[in-house]
């Protein structure tokens, strides 16, 4: 039921959200998360790498686990790979549920896992060149909340 995509080109998050919402007549609440390249700190570009044999299958497995854990009416996960500019969308998660707390929890859970347990590698370009970004300790704390 979930719509899970690895996008190699820029996507339009507003159009994706509008299309997703239009399909959710049985949901009382829809939570969306949009992650985008921030225009700050001198970041000129951001690159996300994926590993073809594992990245999309891993995202599909994450969607399966998310849908098993919360009663959802719909779930959308779109994640970019490739080189992005400030303002470009990186990731979009939308979760629709009869009750709002399920939608919030599912979107939050999916994002935490996309951040630090999905097969992506990120580097950013500033005036001093490209630099690989390792996960932050907070990312691991965020994900540990779901293991309680």
């Amino acid at each position: 039921m979930a719509d899970v995509r690895l996008s190699l080109d820029a996507f339009d998050p507003a159009a994706e959200i509008a299309a997703f919402n239009a399909r959710q007549q049985y949901a009382g609440g829809i939570v969306t998360f949009l992650g985008q390249v921030r225009d700050s700190g001198g970041v000129e570009a951001l690159e996300l790498q994926h590993y073809e044999p594992m990245t999309l299958p891993g995202m599909q497995e994450l969607a399966r686990v998310t849908e098993k854990r919360w009663p959802l009416e719909g779930l959308l996960i779109v994640h970019r790979s490739g080189v992005m500019m400030p303002g470009d969308a990186i990731v979009l998660v939308a979760a629709a549920a009869r009750h709002r707390r399920d939608a919030f929890a599912a979107a939050d859970f999916a994002m935490d896992h996309l951040k630090s347990e999905s097969w992506f590698w990120k580097r950013e370009k500033t005036a001093s060149g490209w630099r690989w970004i390792e996960p932050r300790p907070e990312d691991h704390e965020d994900i540990s909340r779901w293991r309680a």
Binding site: V91, M111, K115, S116, W119, F120, W121
Partner: protein, 72 residues
């Protein structure tokens, strides 16, 4: 993947088939040390390995070295 590509100078390296230990021994030692780093996970043909010991690469196999991920 990720920073290990910079260390290897390429996204993919063709290697001779054989036991993984031998394959690694034929690489540049500085690269081999990075590939065997504590936080690096390995996948054979898209499946995560829990233990690389005893794995023998056949023709066409792809062994991936996966540093800590960072998505979103």
């Amino acid at each position: 993947m990720g920073r290990l590509e910079d260390a290897a100078g390429a996204a993919e390296l063709p290697v001779e088939p054989g036991p993984v230990e031998q394959v690694l021994a034929r690489l540049d030692p500085a690269l081999a040390v990075q590939l065997l780093g504590e936080k690096v996970r390995m996948a054979l043909n898209g499946r995560l390995l829990t233990d690389v010991g005893g794995i023998v690469l056949a023709q066409g196999d792809e062994l991936a070295f996966l540093p800590p991920v960072s998505g979103g």
